[in-house]
């Protein structure tokens, strides 16, 4: 009978690595967040974003401040006509997606709701604003918590239930590093959108590029690891059905 009995070596090696990463992340939280800001600053420079500086911002009580971006974010009345047109085009585009692609229908509908709610809130409350520093603070708080949780999720998905211990451990380290860089990329992209379009697109961006992206990238690499392990562990169960 096909099974993958747990081995103590796999379990404890995985736990030890996850614990090491978590402890390291806690003790070096400020340098890690600083490194994240530096990577983001480099990416913002490459993207041509006019970030005027990185100011200190308290992320967690009791910790030294990290750096948050200083960048102008316009209110609804200040954004360009192009941004408003982009909002309309986005809604139309999403409506088309919802109509034509059933798989994406619910996501597209949800994004439309977010966009409309955002447009209404921005139009009615023109003083509705978010400083880039605050944005950086919220982003870092969220991602820092993700980095603390991530090794344990990876342990549960990539190490314990998979046959090759060494490869599982490499997956954990790689994905932890990937999550760090990917977070900086997403943060800079959202910053750029905020700078050029104000807060109109913020809710859908937060939904798509926040923790959803963390979930998706883990899922993507998990599927690759399953693909590899399936072929390695056992052959395909014999079946007369055609294989997809």
């Amino acid at each position: 009978m096909r099974a993958l009995p747990f081995s103590n070596v796999r379990l404890w090696a995985g736990v030890a690595l996850a614990l090491a990463i978590t402890v390291w992340s806690v003790f070096y939280a400020v340098p890690i967040m600083e490194a994240h800001s530096r990577v983001a600053a480099v990416l913002a420079g490459w993207a041509g974003l006019p970030v005027s500086g990185w100011a200190p911002v308290g992320v967690f009580p009791g910790l030294e401040p990290a750096s948050g971006p200083v960048l102008a974010i316009p209110t609804f009345s200040e954004v360009s006509e192009g941004a408003r047109l982009a909002l309309l085009l986005s809604i139309v585009g999403l409506l088309i997606v919802a109509q034509r692609f059933s798989l994406f229908r619910n996501v597209a509908n949800f994004l439309i709701v977010l966009l409309v709610a955002s447009a209404v809130a921005n139009a009615v409350f023109d003083n509705f604003r978010l400083e880039s520093i605050t944005f950086g603070q919220i982003w870092l708080r969220q991602e820092m918590l993700v980095w603390l949780i991530l090794p344990w999720v990876l342990l549960l998905l990539f190490v314990i239930p998979q046959p090759n211990l060494l490869r599982g451990l490499v997956w954990v380290v790689f994905l932890q590093a990937y999550g760090f860089v990917f977070s900086a990329v997403r943060m800079v992209f959202v910053l750029g959108m905020l700078h050029y379009t104000g807060l109109i697109f913020m809710p859908p961006l937060w939904f798509l590029l926040g923790t959803m992206s963390d979930l998706l990238f883990v899922l993507f690499f998990y599927s690759l690891s399953i693909h590899r392990s399936s072929g390695e562990l056992w052959g395909v169960r014999d079946s007369w059905q055609s294989h997809f």
């Binding site: 009978m1 993958l4 747990f6 969220q142 999720v153 937060w206 979930l215 993507f220 997809f244």
Partner: protein, 453 residues
Amino acid sequence: MAVTLLIGISYVVIAFTVAFLLLYAVRHYLLGYSRLRIDQPKDSMELVGFYMPRVTVLIPMHNEERVAADVLQAIVDSDYDWEKLEVIPVNDRSTDKTREIVDGYAKRYPFIQPYHRTDGQGGKPAALVEACARATGDILVMFDADYVPGRAVIKMLVAPFADPEIGASMGRVVPHNIGDSLLSGLLSLERSAGYQGVQQSRFNLGFTAQFGGTVGAVRAAALESVGGWNPESLTEDTDLTFALLLSGWKTAYVNRAECYEEVPQSWSVRRRQLSRWVTGHTECLHNYWPDLMQSRFLTRWEKVDALFLLAMYWTAPVLVLGWVASLLLFFIPEAHQTPWLPLALAFLGYQLFANQATFLEIGVASMLDGTRIRSLLLPLNLLNFFANTGAICNALRKFYWNKLWGSGGDGWYKTHRTRGTSGGDGFFGGSGAGASVTARSARGLYHARAEGD
């Protein structure tokens, strides 16, 4: 004041969402892991072929001209002793050529005794009630008309009944049209997780497997003892599962009893199928949970498991409530100033991670089945998850609305069949080819699959 209240309510909703979904996530992880690690699952395969009671095979049909010949041919080709076999195709007021196909088989094979319904209440449960009254078997085996059982499936489904405590048994459903559309590929992953993963795991752990009338068997005496099928239920099989459980009967799961089905290829069909399941399942929740909690036949953990099973569709609206609450917090600037907003968002983020648990089950089932290319579709199942969430919420909305206002609610809906629509020759290239395909199936079941699950 109002804003503070709104913020407070939002946090309470998010906390509830996190707690509720976390419980399900833990359950998914436990079931996934236990399935992967147990190499000696509960199994009745050693009894296959040694316990051969009289069996009645019931096949409810309504306008099944595309598929009727395939299922009948597969049963004719099965290795169950014809002397102990009775097959009742239940032709429920078909208006196509189903009647001619069924009668053609009945002329050739005397153990096929069709029952043609021309009036009465519509739907599968009502048809089953009438057909069961004619059945003479000790064990009633049921297949949906679009299912194609392998040669040994009847023997495998019957084997667990050697245990007198077993009231019903359930086989594994395997989609055969997995390459026909993206949706069918995604659903095949879901089915793998559901059967290879969850059903087997729950059975291993001593919980009751969920009986499915699509490829399942029930002891005639057990069915009678619980008052027969519930003709009012949209999911008569789930209803029977819990009726049997409350009467002290167990349901066995037979992973190797594979039956091949056609999963929906379009989202409209899928939505309607899901809507029927949600309605029927939730009705069962309301009907059975008080008795389940007080049952003297069940352990505490069996009760917990049964409750998890019955309430599983509630996860969708709870998740949506959490999203709405976090959206409200997003648009309230006052909430931005409190340190709890990022914490709440992080909790929701954690919930997204917790939702990896369902993907772990898919991954485990994929590894056990040796699925390779299809496992790469796994991330797309997130979209499937969103689509399901919408369909489930809509179905629950209708269900509770109807419950509140007493209107009729969803009726029976027959799942649309697509077999034969592309090639024109049917799935097997016509029923004549069915014998060779089911023979190949049997080879797989007897030999290569012997260590395959």
